[in-house]
Amino acid sequence: MTRYVMVADLERCVGCQTCTAACKHTNATAPGVQWRRVLDMEVGEFPDVRRAFVPVGCMHCADPPCMHVCPSTATGQRADGLVTIDYDLCIGCGYCAVACPYQARYMVEQPGQAYREGRMRSETQRENPGRLGVAQKCTFCSDRIDYGEQHGLTPGVDPEATPACVNACIASALQFGDIEDPDSNVSQLLAAHKHFRMHEELGTDPGFYYLWEDR
């Protein structure tokens, strides 16, 4: 079995948001929509203050609440663990969005524009009408993974088969791979570092790990 997960090394992330930009460029998401984003968290009180940059997005949970509540079966789960949305089935009820504890889902009703002066050429050319009025979220760049698998490439190792945010990361803070493979990059990183998953107590079994210290 394969389960693709993402690993974010909080020691490495510098909060540059290059992953956010790469995701927007690759997936042509609308203004205000960020399938991948990086939180800037300030923790503690003066003089003991710490700062952490925390990449977030769809956690591709093994037990995804969004899928269970979806009345139309638009939200599904692939054998490799990726949580998917069928835009042609979705009715746009927003139930998945309130069921997701990671605030990973977006809904856009009308075509948007980033600037007052009018829509940019890229916004017009890359608009996806199928995404209007339905739920949308990070896909872990499933099209790239599928392409890679069809061409004998390894997701997380070969850039053509790896999510755009991971490819773009300037600090190699984001990594992607198969957690079921003990020799994969992500399995080795998890073995070598202390790590946690967000809101693990909610029982969603998220597929997104945060490294915070060497073992």
């Binding site: 009345p71 009820c93 309130v98 504890p101 915070w212 210290e213």
Partner: protein
């Protein structure tokens, strides 16, 4: 201090959805009480028509608010796990049976409509509970509150209909039922709020705190006092009883509206540890807004 990651008020479900919980709950409660009334020989048609209108109206306006309303029937595709699908599955037979009950005034049909109405109300309560991204909704103690307020609203509406129709026995029975339901609802509210302490974002708790006084005072204490006084003052019985019913009803609507649109703060973000930086070590985590 924490910057970034705090929970914020969800905007996916606005007043359109809240209205469906308001009218769906009231309509369901009313159909149940109407069925009980019919068993006692009281008229069935008028309360059933009103219940039908409330449930149907709520569903219709929420369907029009879907991102893709023309695909509305797709909501029936996942009864295996989705309470929204189950609600849709119950809604069809419920509306049909209630329509027939209103037209034919058969007690048996009224009873069946009442049972389906309970199922519909339960589905609505479970829809909220399964929204695991919203701590104030996923709390299991919300379930009895939604059910109890449905009963209160149903009894209150039935009381108003009975007063308008001049049905003396029905008025008396509905008043007693309303009293019992009010006690049940305030207990459910207390249980819900107690269970939520420490289990929801601060802003959600503050929103519920703001709802406390009007809900408990105007929605429970005042109606109970009015009903008691009405029992002792026959000349003012009708207006006092009507006012009690109206206040109990509006309080139910108010608190559901507050829960959906004011206390619906999402989970926010949290980290278990802050990372080690440079030669330093990792530190404590953070859960902003909680």
């Amino acid at each position: 201090m924490n910057v970034g990651g705090k929970p914020w008020l969800q905007t996916h479900w606005d007043w359109h959805v809240a209205v469906n919980f308001l009218t769906g709950g009231s309509g369901s409660g009313l159909l149940l009480v109407a069925a009980l009334g019919a068993l006692a020989g009281q008229p069935l048609a008028a309360p059933t028509w009103l219940g039908l209108l409330l449930i149907g109206g709520g569903l219709a306006q929420v369907m029009l608010h879907l991102g893709r309303p023309l695909r509305g029937l797709n909501a029936l595709f996942n009864p295996r796990t989705s309470w929204m699908s189950r609600e849709a599955f119950v809604a069809g037979p419920l509306l049909l049976v209630a329509l027939l009950a209103a037209l034919l005034e058969w007690t048996l049909l009224g009873l069946l409509a009442g049972l389906l109405a309970v199922a519909f109300l339960y589905c609505q309560a479970r829809i909220l509970k399964e929204a695991r991204g919203i701590p104030a909704w996923r709390e299991p103690r919300l379930l009895p509150l939604i059910l109890a307020t449905g009963l209160v609203e149903g009894a209150a509406l039935y009381l108003l209909v009975a007063l308008l129709g001049g049905w003396h026995e029905a008025t008396l029975g509905a008043s007693v039922l309303l009293l019992v339901a009010l006690v049940t609802r305030i207990l459910a509210w207390r249980g819900y709020r107690k269970a939520l302490q420490g289990n929801a974002p601060n802003e959600a708790l503050r929103a519920l705190e703001r709802a406390e006084a009007p809900f408990a005072g105007a929605g429970h204490v005042a109606p109970v006092l009015l009903l008691v006084v009405a029992a002792g003052v026959p000349s003012a019985q009708a207006p006092l009883t009507a006012l009690a019913g109206l206040m109990a009803l509006l309080a139910g609507w108010g608190v559901k509206f507050a829960i959906v649109t004011r206390a619906g703060y999402n989970q926010g973000f949290a980290i278990m540890h802050t990372p080690a930086r440079g030669a330093g070590t990792g530190g404590l985590g953070s859960k902003p807004g909680w």
